[in-house]
């Protein structure tokens, strides 16, 4: 070990440090709030938001300065920064959605924003981990925070159920992950991705141990991104969690786990690609098909979006199955698009929820266009984008991911995925039908306690980016370009 390895380089973890620091500030500010004198509580979301935005700026600044740090346990390349930006976009929008919402659900506002920040930190760390131990640390950091957030509404039975389910199954998933990591360590003698890759390259690894290990790791990740057959928890947890938390979960968890998934397969197991590619492809097909078919039958909006999120996990996995850099860059574009369109959809659901409710049935959208034409128009944009109709971001998300699949020899996978997206169009369209072509009911009215300026702003930002990324996808790719987003090179 030379001296360079020993030096603790903090510069690459600047984004994570900023997030933790903001979380600390939020918690300290919250302390001064105890007797309810100074209105610092109202400041907390804005402090959190500023922290998130500063971190995003730092991430953008760090693009193009890839450094490995902590003795090879983490790397901060452009893709890690791109993932940071996806998570931060999700976090910023979540904060905006929470300002009116969370005080209705739980009085402990301070810990809520601190937890959002810490969970984001864990997610960001997932994308830069290049060691199984660092990965596990990041995984647990964000998972533990999410268990608490899911159960935030302590008086609501559903929320408790969600937290409990998420915790139990999440604990199983973590156990699978650790067990898998142990097997991989046993097979290759290291937990560091580059050393694992070297061991495999030299042919020193025990193939059966490795196979067991990788299978268990996939199961662990599969739980986190809700791949079929590890998806059972998703609808219940999505439905029971406070809606801003659900929104954050659907975007952030997916982004973080997929980023880690990619690191593991591209950095540690490149030699195993031929074996695992088809397995991931099969998982992708199962996931998207089941997600779409189940979504067809949902009446609850949150359950519908839960199954839709399962389907989208399937599409993103198509990009990873190829394990090419085009695939991961396509998946990252997909994730940033998904962040905006899905956060937007959840924002509309929040608008429709009544005091004390944490879900809305699809028929509450009936006639929304008559009562609230602007909201209905934005929701239509999100739905068409989720369905993959141009000129919205969701179309290019699919296009890039499937381009990677076709160039990697997985044309059949892309074909199945496209047919699936035609199934998906049906239930997204049904929401549009409800909003525009059904008679409005008393239910359709938007309650004033939910319609806040920050939420309206979040809706607008989501819509603007959903359209902008669909018209000019290079906005994103230029930003993270030093990550060699170069699909042409993969031809």
């Amino acid at each position: 070990m030379n001296s360079a390895d020993l030096q603790l380089n903090l510069h690459p973890v600047l984004p994570e440090l900023l997030m933790v620091a903001t979380a600390a500030v939020v918690m300290i500010l919250d302390m001064f709030n105890r007797k309810g004198k100074a209105p610092t509580r109202a400041l907390l979301p804005w402090v959190a938001l500023v922290g998130v935005l500063v971190t995003a700026a730092a991430s953008i600044w760090l693009i193009g300065q890839p450094v490995s740090s902590f003795q090879g346990m983490a790397i901060n390349d452009a893709r890690a920064q791109a993932l940071n930006l996806v998570v931060l976009a999700g976090a910023a929008l979540t904060v905006l959605l929470s300002i009116r919402y969370i005080p209705n659900v739980n009085r402990q506002t301070g810990e809520y924003y601190a937890l959002i920040l810490l969970v984001s930190t864990g997610m960001m760390a997932m994308g830069s981990a290049t060691d199984l131990m660092a990965l596990f640390l990041a995984l647990e950091t964000f998972s533990l925070g999410l268990y608490i957030l899911a159960g935030l509404n302590r008086t609501d039975r559903r929320s408790n159920e969600a937290a409990m389910k998420y915790f139990l199954l999440g604990a199983f998933a973590s156990a699978f992950f650790v067990y898998g990591a142990a097997y991989v360590y046993g097979a290759t003698g290291s937990t560091r991705f580059d050393l694992i890759a070297n061991a495999l390259f030299d042919g020193q690894a025990d193939p059966s141990l490795l196979a067991i290990g990788v299978t268990l790791l996939i199961a662990g990740f599969g739980f986190k991104v809700s791949l079929v057959p590890f998806h059972m928890w998703t609808p219940d947890v999505y439905q029971g969690s406070p809606t801003p938390v659900t929104a954050f979960m659907s975007v952030g968890t997916k982004a973080a786990a997929f980023a880690a998934f990619y690191r593991l397969f591209a950095f540690a197991l490149p030699s195993e690609q031929a074996t695992w590619g088809p397995v991931l492809g099969a998982l992708a097909i199962l996931t998207m098909t089941l997600g779409n078919l189940a979504a067809l039958r949902q009446s609850s909006l949150k359950r519908l979006l839960a199954y839709s999120s399962i389907a989208h996990a399937g599409y993103i996995l198509v990009g990873l199955a190829t394990a090419t850099s085009a695939g991961i860059d396509g998946a990252l574009f997909y994730l940033i698009s998904y962040a905006f369109m899905n956060m937007g959809a959840f924002a509309v659901i929040i608008l429709l929820e009544r005091q004390g409710e944490m879900d809305a049935l699809g028929n509450r959208l009936n006639g929304l266009a008559r009562r609230h034409p602007q909201v209905a128009m934005l929701m239509s944009i999100f739905m068409f984008s989720l369905a993959g109709v141009p000129p919205f971001a969701g179309f290019f998300g699919k296009f890039f991911v499937f381009a990677a699949a076709v160039s990697g020899g997985y044309s059949w996978l892309a074909a199945v995925a496209m047919l699936n997206s035609a199934i998906g169009a049906y239930y997204y369209l049904r929401i549009v039908v409800n909003m525009y072509f059904a008679e409005p009911t008393e239910e359709t009215r938007i309650e004033p306690q939910q319609a806040s300026i920050p939420l309206a702003f979040a809706l607008g930002v989501s819509a603007v980016f959903t359209v902008a990324l669909g018209v000019l996808p290079s906005l994103w790719t230029n930003l993270v370009q030093s990550g060699a987003l170069n699909l042409v090179a993969m031809r």
Binding site: V389, P390, V406, L419, A425, Y426, L429, L487
Partner: protein, 514 residues
Amino acid sequence: MALSIPYLLTIITFLPLAGAAIVTLVPGDGAKKWLALATTLVTFLVSLLLWTNWQDGYAGMQFVEDVVWFAPLGIRYALGVDGVSLFLVLLTTFLMPIAVFYSVLYVEHRVGAYMALMLLLETAMIGVFVALDLVLFFVFFEASLIPMYFLIGEWGGKNRVYAAVKFFLYTFAGSALMVVAILIVYFSTGTFDILALQKAQMPLAVQTWAFLAFSLAFAVKTPLFPFHTWLPDAHVQAPTAGSIILAGVLLKMGTYGFLRLAMPVFPQAAEQFGPLLATLAVIGILYGALVALMQKDIKSLVAYSSVAHLGYVMLGIVAMNAQGVSGSILQMVNHGLSTGALFLMVGLLYERRHTRMLDEFGGLWASVPVYTGLFLVVAMSSAGLPGLNGFVGEFTIMLGAYNYMPIFAVLAAAGVILAAWYLLTAFRKMAQGEITNPANDRAHLKDLNGKELAMVIPLVILFFVIGLFPNLFFDKINPSVEAMLETRAAILQQATAEQTPAFELAEIMATEAQ
């Protein structure tokens, strides 16, 4: 060129979009209506610059614009028109003011949204015809679904929601596999440039799969038998202006797709599947005509006649010879004008009587002579009476089809007779005989007024112009068509040469040398 205008095609394509934005911002239904109409009129006038500045005899793309859109995949924002697309662009910009004017007169429900959607639709449609990049083409192609879906679903007839959803899902599912095919083609040739793709060599397997996927998308859109079942629903339920645009322009996106992409880009596969497509086209001609004959609702009669007419267009395209293709292009325009006019006439009658059932009418000659006379002209144009536009297109297509495979021309000719039959039957039931229903008499039924005539007359004038002076149009169409066919023939020859074993090739060369 008289004068060159930079970004002319971009301006034509996106003027309606800008208009849509303004329409949503301006208060007041009246202002919205007239602004929308003004936008379409200005767009039409600007698009006439394409005609006046046209470089006659030049086969390639004119008014070309080319900017990088998404560099990593080489996707470009590339626009251009040639003889193949020129008249489709003009057809769109010409029909839009008529459709919008009709709506100005008769649409009262949520005017702002309606007008904005019409204008969005115009941008998408023009975009399809001027796009020179496969991805750009696809984006416009799919984007057109959204406004049409809302137009049918919100302003349509009784069963509108079902029709709108069916329209959307059918066409969306149809083009799903085209995305994959576009990617396969890209990774096989390295370009999304449509013109370069027409010159590119592709392995036969790639061609076959891609051709099938493209064809499925376009066959649903056209619609080609047996993918037509969404069309009667959509047409019958759509508002009149929606029907005019749906029949007049939207369906042409399918046939245009065949002509610009499926047939020339995958020449070998197209050769193989040509007879199949031609068979489907002829089935469509006969089936559409026979079903039209059975209809009691005039609007569904016109809808089924579209299936038949698009069958001719397809037949000419599949023939892939100069007459067939040129005839098809002109016939696309003709069908747009004639069927658009038919829907317009049916709509005008519906606004008066609130029914479209043939049984309800009779004796209209006596009560509304101007309307009836114009209806007869429109019907004759659709039936292909010599001297009017439909005849020129259909006749040229028949020539092409005969040179391709005579049997198809013979069968298609039977369709012409059927067309005359169902149109004249409909006309007889509506116009001739005694007035049996007092609602149809002179006291109750008003003849066309000046505004309504202003919509119908331009169409009728064009029927005669195209019918009597077809060369005005063919002169601009033909050079591009010939160039496209030459490229295709060269590619085919090259492909066959590569497949021919060496010793045969030597023999051929020896015989040629002698």
